[in-house]
């Protein structure tokens, strides 16, 4: 089973992500912020990372940079899932190493289609 790391400081959002991805047959590891996400990513290499941008402490962009600096995360797909949709922040996400940008709120069907496209 493919495993996805879902990083978001909102408990309800993590619950919705977990519900949607598990229903599509994926395993889900939840993390409450960038630092927690980084620790969990170190404990187990996951198949895809889905992260929010605005979180207390380590934000999404910092998490992506930290993950991309790790050997086992250089080619793992990373998606940003955020309320922000400005071109500048998207460009920063892309430069940091994100593979895609999803604007909240997400639709479970469209989300799982994108995930399936990236990791099968």
């Amino acid at each position: 089973m493919k495993t996805i790391l879902a990083v978001d400081d909102s408990g309800s959002l993590r619950q919705m992500l977990s519900f949607s991805l598990k229903a599509a047959g994926y395993g889900v590891i939840e993390a409450i912020d960038g630092e927690d996400g980084l620790n969990k990513a170190k404990q187990q290499t996951v198949d895809l990372v889905l992260t929010d941008q605005n979180m207390p402490g380590m934000d999404g962009l910092s998490l992506i940079k930290a993950l991309r600096a790790m050997k086992n995360y250089q080619s793992v797909p990373i998606l940003m899932l955020t309320t922000e949709s400005g071109d500048d922040i998207k460009a920063m996400g892309r430069a940091a190493g994100a593979n895609g940008w999803l604007v909240k709120p997400f639709d479970p069907t469209r989300l799982t289609e994108v995930v399936k496209k990236l990791i099968g």
């Binding site: 909102s10 593979n99 999803l102 639709d107 069907t109």
Partner: protein
């Protein structure tokens, strides 16, 4: 250039600068709070509408599913059209649950808006706090020069507080509806 102005002119300038600073910064914070409240109202209305529609649709689809199952049980053997109907209802329920999942994300967005409003209100409190800390209690006993220095210092600190806050507040939530957002793969 300043020395050409009389002490009372200088005092007037400094008081005007301070009042104008407090008014501008106070107005900025309140305008942001007002904007976020309107945005939150829009999102909550959209979310509740979406959740009500999904809830009613799920309820209706489950009713139909139950009727089909009852009919299947009474005949003993499922007819192909009954099996097809059940499959169709399963898909329909899945779609409505998906729409409800999208609607339920209002909590995340409204919580971000509330966080911004709290930061702006704290900023406003800081501005007034600066006036209180450096205001009446510390008024120089005499001499317009000391008064000018004090007014100048308060204006600078009010400005500095607002600049600090501008960098710390999260960017706002611009979504005007609870439909799913754009997806872009790089």
């Amino acid at each position: 250039m300043l020395s050409r102005e009389s002490p009372s002119d200088l005092m007037e300038t400094q008081v005007m600068r301070l009042l104008s600073g407090v008014s501008t910064h106070g107005d900025q914070h309140l305008a942001e709070v007002e904007r976020d409240l309107v945005q939150m109202d829009v999102l909550l209305n959209e979310a509740i509408k979406k959740l009500c529609t999904s809830f009613m649709a799920i309820h209706h689809a489950i009713d139909l599913q139950q009727e089909t199952l009852k009919s299947m049980l009474s005949t003993g053997e499922p007819a192909p059209e009954q099996a097809a109907r059940l499959e169709m209802l399963r898909e329909e329920i899945g779609q409505h649950v998906g729409a409800a999942v999208t609607g339920l994300q209002f909590q995340d967005m409204t919580s971000q808006l509330i966080g911004r409003m709290v930061q702006h209100l704290a900023g406003l409190r800081d501005v007034f706090g600066e006036l209180g800390t450096n205001g009446a209690a510390d008024l120089p006993e005499s001499g317009s020069e000391e008064m000018l220095v004090m007014l100048n210092r308060i204006s600078d600190r009010v400005g500095a507080r607002c600049s600090e806050l501008a960098g710390a507040v999260r960017s706002t939530v611009n979504q005007r509806h609870m439909e799913s957002g754009d997806i872009e793969l790089f």
